[in-house]
């Protein structure tokens, strides 16, 4: 992300359809595509005079060539450096001077830009966003200072944070072949070598209306939205021949892996185990739905989940968690994590975790637990209507990871139809998989000298 202040909470369980309207478009959502291929979603919420514009490009860090890691994110920064008619920095200053806020973020599968602004200012931000879709200029003076900014971003977010360093290495070990094993922000030595020409090439190859999704959410009607989209984006030529996103895929993984990292900045040993896991696929979201509910059942709540009851409540672990997000172009990971209690050593902690998982596999999901998770999903559907911005994320992420609007609309119903048997099958397949990385992030070893600590921090 471009600006440290931004945190975007993505609701785990999203949801948009009215309860009885399977596969139908919610009445406050409209979907159309401009002749140049720009897919547009309008989400109406007229409670406050606020609107959010988001443009999601279907391009991200996993589309980078080896040796050029970080270019997707670096280009995201450079998108604020002006166009044929806008000075460097003028985009954000104009948004701010109009009472709005703007930002951008890069992921493996997409790069997205957004503004939140008073509804009567929507034409202004649409005009500027359309402008930089076609007319980006990267000045000689700007690209080097901005490369320094992304290096500082890496220093702040990754190099200064042992958990982030550990996650980066864990992902590199998890994926033998797929670019999900490379950090989104880039490996430092490759970031240092990125050039203005690399950025221009990336922009020219990937920024076009037929490889993007426009989302307008808030106080705007679909008629007005279409008129404005046609006016500002309609004349931008399509690129044509959008290539399928064929990344190198994972071979069968037969070796469970283990990693261990020591860092003097770590106060509390932390265990994580990541499992290679399927993602949400167009027309085929049921396996991902089962994993989504499995994560809730295993680690969704410290008081009521399986791992919470087995490990946290009896005082064996301070924290437990299970996490899975199926919004991904290619297979992703399902993650368990645990901070053991002080008197539980790592071997013992891992045994206790495995016992709890074995018990779950033997017993299957508890019927009452499953019913409660489904109640929470239904409630989350209602609460989610409180945030047009949040719903914009749901559609943006879905459409930029290969799902259709129908897939996004169907998701709550697919979650609701998952049975105990589906979850048992998903759990058996996942928890018996060998495609795992089990890792401990530990405090400094007692023997570590200051010099050793230094090199460890800087790797």
């Amino acid at each position: 992300m471009r600006q440290p202040a931004l945190t975007v909470a993505l609701p785990l369980l999203l949801s948009l359809t009215a309860p009885a309207a399977q596969a139908q478009m919610p009445e406050d959502v409209t979907h159309f595509t401009l002749p140049n291929g720009l897919e547009t979603i309008v989400i109406e919420d007229h409670r406050a005079p606020v609107v959010v514009q988001m443009v999601w490009y279907r391009i991200g860090a996993a589309d980078e060539q080896p040796g050029k890691s970080g270019i997707a994110h670096y280009l995201e920064h450079l998108m604020f450096k002006g166009t044929d008619t806008l000075e460097p920095g003028e985009f954000s200053k104009t948004v701010t001077a109009n009472g709005g806020s703007d930002n951008a973020f890069t992921s493996y599968d997409y790069t997205a830009y957004f503004q939140r602004i008073a509804a009567d200012r929507l034409p202004l931000v649409m005009e500027m966003e359309a402008d930089r879709m076609a007319n980006l200029q990267i000045g000689e003076d700007d690209w080097q200072a901005e490369r320094q900014v992304v290096l500082e971003e890496r220093a702040q977010r990754i190099d200064s944070n042992p958990r982030a360093l550990f996650a980066e290495e864990r992902d590199a070990v998890q994926f033998y072949n797929h670019p999900y094993g490379r950090p989104i922000i880039g490996w430092r030595q490759e970031m240092e070598g990125l050039t203005r020409q690399d950025a221009i090439d990336w922009y020219d190859a990937h920024y076009a209306p037929d490889d993007a999704v426009l989302i307008l959410a808030g106080d705007v009607t679909p008629e007005k939205a279409r008129e404005l989209a046609e006016k500002y984006y309609g004349d931008i030529p399509a690129k044509g021949d959008i290539a399928a996103r064929l990344r190198p895929q994972e071979p069968v993984q037969n070796s469970p892996r283990r990693i261990e990292m020591h860092d003097p900045r770590v106060a509390q040993p932390t265990f994580t185990r990541s499992y290679l896991a399927t993602e949400r696929n167009p027309g085929d979201q049921k396996p991902a739905a089962a994993l989504t509910i499995l994560a809730e059942l295993l680690g969704g709540s410290m008081q009521t989940s399986v791992l919470g009851r087995e490990l946290a409540l009896p005082g064996k672990a301070l924290w437990v968690n299970a996490r899975y997000d199926g919004l991904s172009v290619d297979p992703t990971t399902f993650m368990l994590s645990m901070v053991p209690a002080d008197d539980i050593d790592p071997d013992q902690a891992e045994k206790l975790l495995d016992q709890a998982l074995t018990g779950f596999l033997a017993d299957g999901p508890d019927a009452d637990d499953l019913a409660r998770v489904k109640t929470r999903i239904r409630a989350a559907q209602i609460y989610s209507r409180d945030s047009a911005h949040g719903r914009a994320y749901d559609y943006g992420q879905g459409l930029s990871t290969g799902l259709s609007v129908e897939d996004v609309n169907d998701w709550p119903d697919i979650l609701a139809e998952i049975t105990a048997e589906d979850i048992r099958d998903a759990a058996e397949k996942l928890l018996n998989s060998k495609a795992t990385v089990s890792g401990w992030l530990l405090p400094a070893e007692q023997t570590a000298t200051p010099a050793a600590i230094q090199s460890e921090v800087q790797k």
Binding site: A48, K93, L124, E127, M128, A155, D342, A379, I382, D386
Partner: protein, 441 residues
């Protein structure tokens, strides 16, 4: 073309802001609440703020209110931890407890179909928390782990040192978490005492938004608070005296970057110059990419990923503060720039364009905050917490508009002096001399 459009849009800004209709509700038991009624989504968001928050800790039990708050969700009445959480999940309800220097905040989201049952569960947690041994030990171990982690986190180390230097023995001067020793000593009796210090009907303010009428809200509030004592056992906190001096404190920390924290005197929210300072802060360092500090330190020189400043308007004490992180090698250069910009505000003031842009942002941004029941409920209770009148939402932008360049310069001359700024640096900064050094304890 873009610039022409920009000018046109500025002209539209004179249009009146969207008025927000806040109802003042008094419950049958006499408790006041503010409400924005909106029946478009079948749920209600409620926010309760108990004044004083963790600053009401008894002097020798620092951390008790925080630990008590974290244990509220661990069972109440006849329900243990798991049963209590299950009961909430069965309703699809959300209840959250959170404590800070100025308030113990309770938020609730309840579906209309089972709002009363949700309220009953919340009432139970507030009035009859179990504070069982096992739950207490678990929460205690979590807080001890947080204290250890914060001692290893440069941002937390910097914040803690700055608070200590600014506020000394006042509760603002130490972490709401307490210390390893103070937490280790807490008993169940201490948690009960902590609860009685802060959770009482005489110090609660309430905001609500969503699918509920004024009458229903009055009844709901009584349902939630009926089991609480009328008065808290601790007096509200005293005002803290700012003890900050100018200078540079370094704390050695082995990292590629230095965390830079800086602070000087601020002003309370009811100060006549508060809005002038608010505008000044936006131009200096509060306005993201539009601010002077971001322009000089990030955009022109790439010395940081981000720098920001803010008016820390605590109810019991205030500073004007900021922070950034950047390479050790260029920390001295960044600090020179911060000092330079700090003094330039006082010496040269702001341009008409900067002032106009700041006002357009600050007045345009304000109505955007009210775009959801959860956000509105929090804003309504927050307004009451700091003592704003109910019409504030509809007059606040006029106060921003009334600020002149002379006002901005006057308040800058009063508060922005680089020789009064304290810097706390955690890292191995180069190009800067420390006037003091501190140890990590």
């Amino acid at each position: 073309m873009i610039r022409a459009a920009f000018a046109l849009f500025l002209a539209v800004l004179a249009a009146p802001a969207h008025a927000i209709d806040i109802q003042e509700v008094t419950s049958p038991n006499g408790i006041k609440a503010w409400l924005v009624e909106d029946h478009s989504i079948p749920f209600t968001a409620l926010k309760l703020d108990f004044q004083g928050g963790a600053s009401l800790d008894a002097p020798d039990h620092r951390g008790a209110i925080n630990m008590m708050t974290a244990t509220l969700e661990e069972g109440a009445g006849k329900l243990g931890s798991t049963e209590y959480a299950r009961a909430l999940e069965d309703l699809g309800a959300k209840v959250n407890f959170d404590v800070s220097d100025d308030t113990l905040g309770v938020s609730m989201q309840a579906l209309t179909e089972n709002r009363d049952e949700t309220a009953d569960l919340l009432a139970l947690a507030l009035a009859q928390p179990r504070f069982e041994d096992r739950a207490m030990e678990r929460v205690r171990a979590q807080i001890q782990a947080i204290i250890r982690s914060e001692a290893n986190d440069p941002q937390s180390i910097a914040a803690k040192e700055m608070a200590r230097q600014a506020w000394g023995d006042h509760p603002y001067g130490s972490s709401v978490n307490g210390t390893a020793d103070s937490i280790a000593a807490l008993t169940r009796k201490d948690l009960v005492a902590a609860k009685n210090r802060v959770l009482a009907r005489d110090r609660v303010v309430i905001g609500a938004a969503g699918d509920i009428t004024a009458q229903e809200l009055g009844e709901l509030v009584d349902r939630i608070l009926g089991g609480l004592p009328e008065k808290g056992t601790a007096a509200l906190p005293a005002q803290a005296e700012l003890q900050l001096t100018g200078g540079v404190t370094t704390i050695d920390w082995d990292s590629p970057q230095t965390v830079v924290s800086f602070a000087g005197p601020g002003l309370p929210i009811d100060d006549p110059d508060y809005f002038a300072a608010y505008v000044a802060n936006h131009i200096l360092g509060g306005g993201g990419f539009s601010s002077r500090l971001m322009e000089e330190i990030r955009e022109k020189r790439g010395l940081t990923y981000g720098i920001g400043t803010g008016l820390a308007t605590g109810i019991y004490g205030q500073t004007w503060q900021g922070g950034m992180a950047g390479s050790n090698a260029t920390t001295g250069q960044a600090i020179d720039l911060i000092r330079q910009e700090w003094d330039r505000m006082a010496k040269d003031g702001v341009s008409d364009q900067e002032l106009a842009d700041a006002k357009t942002y600050l007045t345009g941004e304000y109505p955007l905050r009210f775009d959801g029941n959860g956000k509105i409920a929090s804003i309504l209770s927050g307004m009451q917490l700091v003592g704003f009148p109910v019409d504030y939402v509809n007059t606040r932008n006029d106060k921003v508009e009334a600020v002149t360049a002379a006002d901005v310069q006057r308040v800058s001359q009063r508060l922005l002096h680089s020789d009064g700024l304290r810097f706390v640096l955690v890292g191995r900064p180069e190009g800067i001399e420390a006037t003091e050094s501190a140890q990590i304890d």
